[in-house]
């Protein structure tokens, strides 16, 4: 499905260059390596839990790649590690949330242009609309990019967000990663009608339903959507069809609700392998490049792991100090009491 008319504004760039394609490949490999390592970290007791994005690298890296962090703003769920990495977020600070250091992560969202990690399904979709409307009010040209899943599409807030965005012509790109599953519930028992993209038409919002495992298609679609929204034409919805290859999280057991055969069929060809074949076919990269990229990814993972392992707990005073901009006497009293009783021990 493609109901987004070609953008006259010329905002969307031309085809991806060889450099860009190689960069996308490097990003996907870095993300894949960190992602699979994080599962291992959890098994090794380095972190208590993790929600892998295995198989969604093209969707995440490709969409994140279209963002201009000098003016846009991104609203993730709990599964957008690949987006964070693509935006250049400090990955120790990002991964710290999975170490149970701080809900939302330790990175600075204002500087990173990535809102705090969001655990409420569909929780931040409306925030993107509000931020985007703020651009309109300020006469700026930033675009909000908000992520949500097939499961999240069932939440009332997604409907309210799409309606608000369309009524206000807010510059938002709704990026749905339809990975086939919401924990144990498959898309066909979640998304009536079968497609989140199909919903957009009802709001007069153009939509693109794309192969989310084709990183080039993802970059292209996201760039087109950004150009459309940036030019004052209002929101766009992208539904990137992909597959959650791993468990929902490290505490999930997919064997209870899908077979290995179903997994293999649903997953199709690995998005990284697809890009690799393409790079080879177009002679954009060779084995030496791939080896180099893998080595870099490994080095990067090691660095992040070291950072995570070295990360101490946040001081308990932050519990109190970060509640408000202007604290209250009652809270100060509780903090004092807490300090006294924990030192006393």
């Amino acid at each position: 499905m493609d109901t987004l008319s070609p953008v006259a504004s010329g905002g969307a760039a031309g085809p991806l260059t060889a450099d860009e394609l190689r960069e996308l490949y490097s990003l996907m490999v870095a993300v894949r390596h960190l992602d699979t390592s994080a599962i291992a970290w959890q098994r090794q007791g380095i972190i208590p839990g993790y929600a892998p994005e295995l198989g969604q690298e093209a969707a995440q890296v490709g969409s994140g790649y279209a963002v201009d962090i000098t003016r846009d703003f991104v609203f993730p769920t709990y599964r957008e590690m690949g987006v964070a990495r693509t935006l250049g977020v400090d990955m120790v600070a990002y991964m710290s949330t999975h170490k149970a250091t701080w809900h939302g992560g330790l990175y600075n969202p204002m500087e990173s242009r990535l809102a705090p990690i969001q655990a409420v399904v569909a929780g931040s979709v409306l925030h993107a609309v509000g931020w985007a409307h703020g651009q309109t009010l300020d006469g700026k040209d930033g675009v909000a990019l908000t992520y949500f899943g097939d499961g999240a599409s069932s939440q009332g807030d997604v409907h309210e967000a799409m309606n608000f965005a369309a009524v206000m012509k807010a510059p938002v790109v709704f990026f749905v990663q339809n990975n086939g599953w919401a924990i144990s519930v498959p898309t066909e028992r979640q998304v009536a009608g079968g497609s989140v993209a199909a919903r957009a038409a009802g709001y007069g919002i153009p939509a693109l339903k794309i192969d989310g495992d084709d990183v080039v298609a993802v970059v292209d679609a996201t760039r087109r959507a950004f150009a459309h929204a940036r030019s004052g034409n209002g929101p766009v919805l992208i539904e990137a069809m992909t597959y959650r290859r791993g468990p929902h999280s490290t505490s999930d057991d997919p064997g209870r609700y899908r077979s290995l055969d179903e997994e293999r069929d649903g997953a199709g060809v690995d998005p990284i392998e697809r890009l690799r074949q393409r790079l080879l076919a177009d002679s954009i990269a060779d084995e030496a490049f791939f080896a180099e990229v893998l080595a870099a990814a490994k080095a990067e993972e090691e660095q992040i792991r070291t950072g995570i392992q070295g990360l101490g707990s946040r001081p308990g005073t932050e519990m109190f100090d970060l509640v408000f901009q202007e604290t209250t006497p009652a809270l100060q009293a509780q903090a004092a009491n807490w300090r006294e009783e924990s030192e006393h021990v």
């Binding site: 330790l106 703020g134 807030d157 901009q325 009652a330």
Partner: protein, 346 residues
């Protein structure tokens, strides 16, 4: 604003005052906030062209433009979620939820997002959101138009909650709340919108300070009545009646329902040694329990009787015909006072 305070704050004579209704006072406060802070935006259902079903935003769209004062679609979660994003973009949203009972669809955004974003973002994404909620009962309205949500809001970490009891308080508390960097739930006692009273525009408090704590509305020696919102004026009436029987009642307008001014409660009850707390919300797990417990904690030795609560019952807010049976009326408050005064250690 601060100029006026400086000008009048040094003298002790009352500054020039104006008589207006709470509706007018709130409207004026919003008008000034919009004028003083170009990042302030006012919105909600019917807030623009109509000026709100209670006319609190009357004329603001015409004056400040449809970009800064606007109607939203009919979806409270949407309105509050929008506010979060606007706050992230540097705005000071002043949304309205049309009636108390329609805050429920927005609770998820209020509790999980607005109240926590400053914390979650480690102070980098403050939420200067002033949520106006026409609140409480007493106007013979349809279902869900007479609710008291203060206990819910006060329990939520990250929120501040305030309720004005008269036009003067309304003007100053709203101006104060709407210039704070933290989220404030502003509960307007809708049954008091149209009563007129004097507003001293020039200054908040007799001492020139910010309206941050509770306020003694009437001094007394025998018993402290604690109330907020529409119940304050009722308690003042009760105090007059009690005075005829020689009972000298102090009336404390709690004003801030979170944080609660425990020091003011303690100071008053240490003097009077007896207290009754009055609210419209149901009894169980109402804010009266918190107030009573704070008083007991601070004044255990001086209290002559357990703190009494005169409140709504643990029943859904009833239809107009039974409203007066539900909301604490003068008689029930007097009975409560009597129970406390007649209390004898067994």
């Amino acid at each position: 604003m601060s100029n006026s305070i400086l000008e009048s704050g040094t003298t002790n004579e009352p500054a020039s005052t104006t008589v207006m209704s709470m509706q007018q006072a709130l409207n004026r406060a919003l008008d000034e906030v919009l004028a003083e802070n170009r990042k302030a935006v006012v919105f909600g259902e019917d807030c623009g062209r109509l000026g709100g079903v209670f006319r609190i935003t009357d004329g603001l769209q015409a004056k400040h433009g449809a970009q800064r004062v606007f109607d939203t679609p009919l979806a409270e979660s949407g309105i509050l979620g929008l506010s979060v994003g606007l706050a992230m973009a540097g705005f000071h949203p002043i949304p309205e939820v049309q009636f108390d009972g329609f805050a429920y669809p927005a609770i998820n955004q209020i509790v999980c997002q607005i109240a926590r974003m400053n914390y979650r973002s480690r102070g980098t994404m403050p939420m200067p959101i002033t949520l106006r909620v026409p609140s409480f009962g007493g106007i013979r309205a349809p279902e869900h138009h007479g609710e008291s949500l203060e206990a819910l809001f006060a329990h939520v970490p990250g929120l501040k909650v305030v309720s004005p009891s008269n036009p003067h308080e309304a003007y100053h508390l709203l101006k104060y709340a709407a210039t704070r960097p933290d989220p404030v739930i502003f509960m307007e006692p809708k049954s008091r919108y149209w009563q007129k009273a004097e507003v001293d525009i020039a200054r908040h408090e007799a001492d020139g300070g910010a309206p941050t704590g509770a306020k003694i509305m009437r001094e007394g020696r025998h018993l402290t009545l604690v109330a907020w919102g529409a119940m304050v004026s009722r308690c003042l009436q009760v105090a007059e009646l009690a005075a005829e029987d020689g009972i000298d009642v102090e009336v404390l307008d709690l004003r801030w329902l979170k944080p609660i001014d425990a020091a003011a409660l303690a100071a008053s009850v240490r003097k009077t040694r007896r207290a009754v707390v009055v609210h419209e919300a149901p009894l169980t797990s109402g804010l009266g329990a918190e107030v009573a417990q704070l008083i007991t904690q601070h004044c255990f030795d001086t209290l002559k009787a357990p703190v009494e609560r005169v409140t709504g019952f643990d029943v859904p807010y009833p239809s107009g015909d039974l409203e007066d049976e539900y909301i604490p009326n003068i008689d029930r408050i007097l009975f409560g006072i009597q129970r406390v005064l007649e209390y004898k250690r067994g």
